[in-house]
Subunit: 702 residues, 2 copies
Amino acid sequence: MIKNILCLSLFVVFGFIVHGQLLESPNGKLKLNFKIEEENPYYALQYKGKTILKDSKLGFVLKPATSYFSGFKIENIQYSFANNTWTTVWGPNKQVADHYNEMLVHLIQNKTGWKLDVRFRLFDDGLGFRYEFPIQHELRHFTINNEMTSFNLGKDYKAFWIPADYDTNEFPVTTSRLTEISKQIDEVRKEPLAAKAPSATLAVQTPLMLKSQDGIYINIHEAALVNFPAMTLNLDEKNLILSSNLTPDKNGDRGFIQTGSVSPWRTVIISDDARDILASNLIVNLNEPSKIKDPSWIKPVKYIGVWWEYFTGGGSTWTYSDQQDIRIGETDYKTLQPNGRHGANTKHVKEYIDFAAANGFDAVLVEGWNEGWEDNQAYRKEHIYSFTKAYPDFDVKELQAYAKSKNVKIIMHHETTSSAVEYERQLKDAFKFMKDNGYDAVKTGYVGPIIPRSEYHDGQWMVNHYRYVTETAAQYQVMVNSHEAVRPTGLHRTYPNWIAQESARGTEFESFNGNKPDHTTILPFTRLIGGPMDYTPGIFEGDLSVYGNNKAKLSTTLTKQLALYITMYSPLQMAADLIENYKKYPDAFQFIKDVAVDWDSSYILEAEPGDYVTIARKAKNKNEWFVGGITDENPREATVDLSFLAKGQKFEAVIYKDGKNASWNHHPKDYEILHQQIKSNEKLKIKVAPGGGFAISIKPVK
Amino acid sequence: MIKNILCLSLFVVFGFIVHGQLLESPNGKLKLNFKIEEENPYYALQYKGKTILKDSKLGFVLKPATSYFSGFKIENIQYSFANNTWTTVWGPNKQVADHYNEMLVHLIQNKTGWKLDVRFRLFDDGLGFRYEFPIQHELRHFTINNEMTSFNLGKDYKAFWIPADYDTNEFPVTTSRLTEISKQIDEVRKEPLAAKAPSATLAVQTPLMLKSQDGIYINIHEAALVNFPAMTLNLDEKNLILSSNLTPDKNGDRGFIQTGSVSPWRTVIISDDARDILASNLIVNLNEPSKIKDPSWIKPVKYIGVWWEYFTGGGSTWTYSDQQDIRIGETDYKTLQPNGRHGANTKHVKEYIDFAAANGFDAVLVEGWNEGWEDNQAYRKEHIYSFTKAYPDFDVKELQAYAKSKNVKIIMHHETTSSAVEYERQLKDAFKFMKDNGYDAVKTGYVGPIIPRSEYHDGQWMVNHYRYVTETAAQYQVMVNSHEAVRPTGLHRTYPNWIAQESARGTEFESFNGNKPDHTTILPFTRLIGGPMDYTPGIFEGDLSVYGNNKAKLSTTLTKQLALYITMYSPLQMAADLIENYKKYPDAFQFIKDVAVDWDSSYILEAEPGDYVTIARKAKNKNEWFVGGITDENPREATVDLSFLAKGQKFEAVIYKDGKNASWNHHPKDYEILHQQIKSNEKLKIKVAPGGGFAISIKPVK
């Protein structure tokens, strides 16, 4: 197969060589130009004849201050292409087409003889390029001082941005022009978060979503972040140039590199139709195929959990005792006075297992099951938790037997409080404990600043840590759902047991009024570009004052919560609300019970970042379809073009939509459920309330 | 037992209370005074009526800048004493007397209500005191900004010092007045070492040896360094006050403390006879008893090794191949071209096993047995070595079978190149590999700067790392000999499997002319105060030019090398030279074959730091005695008072002494061996050459 591509590429090479260092996308709409000017390498990008990126820099500055970006000449250029289709382990689509033209530029630095390769891949929907550091005699190890890569926009785009921060991706998203960021960023950075390490520069996180005045959508991110720090983007607001700002360690080093390795791909997804951004497979295509040879143990999961009750203000808590002086391995929990508010107790978890079994959920997440929560002091304490010792009132064996008898899994929880080395110390024992007790999935957490104390969440060391955890988990056939880790870059293709991540502002922020109605209309264009998010939707009781002193109110209507199961793609989906609330609204809950978590195909029907998203998906290996549509704070009429259904057949749709009086801030629980026969040549028009949404389940008429 | 002590102490309490906050040593020669003046706590110390320490500060500054040293009042004081004897697992003495009076001062800070306890123990030979941070409601976690503890000498002592450095203890020792340190320290700090992190302040390492003009010897160090950074000593050269300078991490934090814990003991050993400093057991007495309940697997070891040949310049090397682009887990060593100079090959190791077996050695150390040496890039690379995968020419199974058949152990080597987290990742697998293959001891190494990159060798994190390694080793019944770790503080009492450390300038520095003739007359007063040192003596061929281009010459005579087996106490002693050299001098080698490595009793016969040391020791459970005496660059006549022998009996002595023409720089191999009958009422007079030494083995006449 590889040989065939190379043979064919010879012809293509010839075709390209007459144009110089030019590369076109397969459909010809994207054109990349690479050049050396005054010994500096540049790339530029056109889309449908419009300049998207003007001449943009490439290369690095090495420590202490050595140029690895200038003084280059081209040694040689190789062209190739690929046009393949691969099968996902799970995903929004069963099959993914991988179709690109490639240009590999071999550079050599005149003075030093150092080599640097740049590999460009042009897809129909965008560009990926990465640096390759060949094995060479003159250069074996180096430390990155700075990456020079720039994205020379030269225009003032509308941006959906969060501030660059090396320790968190949990800021609310701000929508503004690029030139307005500098005025707003300081205020945004005041947001209280568990760990913050703001970039000293004017910079924003990726995935960064941009829209030009003439309707071009651009998404800048990276793919296959392996053994490298995460990239944020410096903004030169005068010249409107974005440039790579790698996450440093606390000593200011931005990556320790051994030649014979590659950088992550820098990605630019481009279209004049916002739906193409959501439909793009560019990021996963730039990741390596699965390293897990037999992935049959990896299964998408719909789950409930002992979790939201910790946020409602109802009094339930992670801790077993109110005594705070705790030393893991020394403190004998059996001698402690229980506080009577501990959520993860055997009886209560059994209630969740019962409900999961009765309603077809795969699993129950239990947080607060293990010793140490009373003294969870981030950064100041290294040995906070035991990952193999349960609280006295959480009977591991009894619960596992009970769960097994009901065909339900319990999801393990490993909150590390960012004590990452200690987690690595316990890691194998922790996974062994899981396997011995029937667990097959773990939610990891990284709240607070990191130990090792030289590191940030998004630096090279932690990037390696998350992968080490995931790889080790795979050895034990454990699926990983990481929270507060670096945002994803498509590595779930390579490690499909990395089944979801949080790495953004999730539903938990609703418990203190933290999310705005447009939040979930933006996330699919930003955070989700890198991979699935464990957003934990499904909150029916949006008024938290019913539980006690918490006055927070949800930013969505009830049916928008249903829509999120479709619009916020994840193979791991939680029904996050309390059991009692699902029991109050059994008709709406039916959608959560029905909705699939793995898919044959996905159809992006409507999309505009910050405004609305409507998506349809076909359940994997089933003749069932589910549609979700959401809007921001503005009401709208959604159009659901049903042409994704088989022609000529009749289908039965159940439509969950906002009621007449519904809006996110008034009567959010006003909803209606319609049953309707539909056909593929129809278009449904559905009114969506302010902050609202709708969900549809579709089956063939029997 | 404890109860008895407490009952008796009531009487003592009464006796002391009349003097206020005064504590006396059991023999009354040391007097400690504790007081609060203007709400600040102070201690002061007298020896035989002379003031040794004037009013000296106590306490801490907490982060960010909070006083935990002032505003105190005494809440309560408790007095007690102990007079016990305990048995060592190994040591210079089988029995150790632990006899002290104690004062425990409970302080409370007026404004904050924070509590701080100071526990003073006064022995006949010195003072130990530590801070205790009681569990309290107001204070649970804190970060140390600075320790205020001072040692207010108020006089200009002669000091035997190395510069304070957070990453190394390998500087040569300088002898000067305290007031001369500032003029010399910058020059001394230029010494090239693999990792250096000099204190920004004028400061020196502990153990610091001092001598006053009126002949008082003082040694300042610490005992039981656990979960705390190592202490160095700032020097206020104007007021002649030393004060604690804790090793920070790279963020400037000097210890993360949870209350309910204690600091290490700050120790001051005092005498007007230098021999008492060497004989002191104060440091071990201040450490906790052994945590290893059955220590029967821990055995002192005399060993040879594939080691010195790497330093001689003879061409032998740790690496298997000359290819440097190595990736552990990816590089297939079987495909590499061997360089033909690899020391740790099966055939060569067998030669060492044969020689060990023929000459009664317990073990053979083999360095360079495992994958990774070709690319041992400290700090820049994290995964340097495999600790479970041998080079292709080192046959683990075959060598273990061979060694076992000869009743010899192979000592494992784990050079970490200071990649400490990676070592922890592999630790349990590495120890399991050792047990599976018959190894029972490991030499660990920490060359170069540390990963985690926030840490120094002597900071709290690494202090915890070394202990974690030692504790984990104990679980696998593995003895540890750590090199380049933090200098010892008597923890070998608590973890007797921590059988030796390097943590100073050892014999390897002789291979580049790095040690002066007085070096080993100082180390017993400095480095060895904390615990045994794997100094690796026994170099007979001191002229390295015989091997090739190395022009280094040893700083000792041949018989001084023999004396070091006695003067440099260690239960782990190497005969470091090449086999061929021992074969050339079989008569001198006989002493190395004979000398014991564990002892019933030790007798410090003569001692003056920087000038000479003469020590006799009785072999454990044997009627054999061994004497070693060394001098600095000056010749002298040693006096060996034989009164340590049983009275009335006749003994046969073999005396290994410098020949008439011997000196360290001319004819170092000129030696003579005398056989002589001796009795306990005699004194041997032995001429010692410049840079020379002598050794004596003694047995009863049959």
